[in-house]
């Protein structure tokens, strides 16, 4: 299973999904009304490393994090 975490203001519980890559995750999340508006402006990290492409394979135990727009300071 792959754990998917929603950080900061997204306010959604983590999910455990049986998926093999980020494209499959995109399909799942695009069907989730709670995430409307967040997917187009959130960055994505796999095991705490930011990624820039959906061409990323996922394995059992991996963690995917969604990082919405930031503002420190």
């Amino acid at each position: 299973m792959v754990r998917v975490e929603f950080l900061g203001p997204i306010q959604k519980d983590a999910m455990e999904l049986d998926i093999a890559n980020l494209k499959e995750l995109a399909v799942v999340l695009q069907g989730d009304k709670e995430l409307e508006g967040w997917l187009k402006n959130s960055a994505v990290a796999v095991n705490d490393t930011l990624v820039n492409s959906l061409d990323v394979a996922l394995s059992d135990g991996d963690k995917v994090s969604l990082l919405p727009p930031v503002c420190g300071g």
Binding site: L7, V27, L39, A43, G72
Partner: protein
């Protein structure tokens, strides 16, 4: 190393230079500690930046969430960049609520000569605003409201929203 009573966690980056505190920062104490830690290191320039919560838009204060694993790797990359220029960066940030006129963010650069420190503090603070995984909320009427209009999407955002 933990020198403030309400600091419950010290986030150790390169050279133990990244510090996270619950609530507002004790500015004089942190700057004094940083100054003393490098006072014999032969740096010719020490340039601190202190961010303070201003009284505006009827807020009572600000509040912050931090995602520490990526903050650590982001900071370590900057520390390596600073070290390649003979400099060192220090940073402290608040978690949770910070009230008006308190500080939530301090960073500083020490370098052999002023030009590197002046350039680095500018580059570092700008990238901090654009990339550090920290989320800001306004505290208004007892509510915590995400500061969406002042927030910036991290580079590369949006891939999960692409058409499949």
């Amino acid at each position: 190393m933990v020198t403030k009573s309400h600091c419950c966690h010290l986030c150790v980056g390169v050279d133990m230079s990244l510090e996270l505190y619950d609530g507002g920062l004790d500015v004089p104490q942190i700057l004094k500690k940083w100054y003393q830690s490098e006072s014999k290191s032969n740096y010719g320039a020490f340039i601190p930046f202190v961010g303070t919560i201003r009284d505006e838009d009827s807020i009572e204060g600000l509040s912050f969430d931090i995602y520490e694993p990526i903050l650590m790797s982001w900071f370590e990359a900057w520390q390596k960049k600073a070290q390649s220029r003979g400099a060192v960066i220090k940073m402290a940030h608040s978690r949770g609520d910070v009230m008006l006129h308190e500080s939530s963010y301090i960073s500083a650069v020490f370098s052999p000569k002023r030009r590197v420190a002046l350039e680095l503090i500018d580059e570092f603070v700008e990238d901090f605003k654009a990339s550090a995984p920290i989320w800001k909320y306004d505290l208004k009427n007892g509510k915590r409201i995400y500061a969406a209009d002042r927030s910036t999407a991290i580079g590369g955002s949006g891939i999960l929203g692409e058409k499949i």
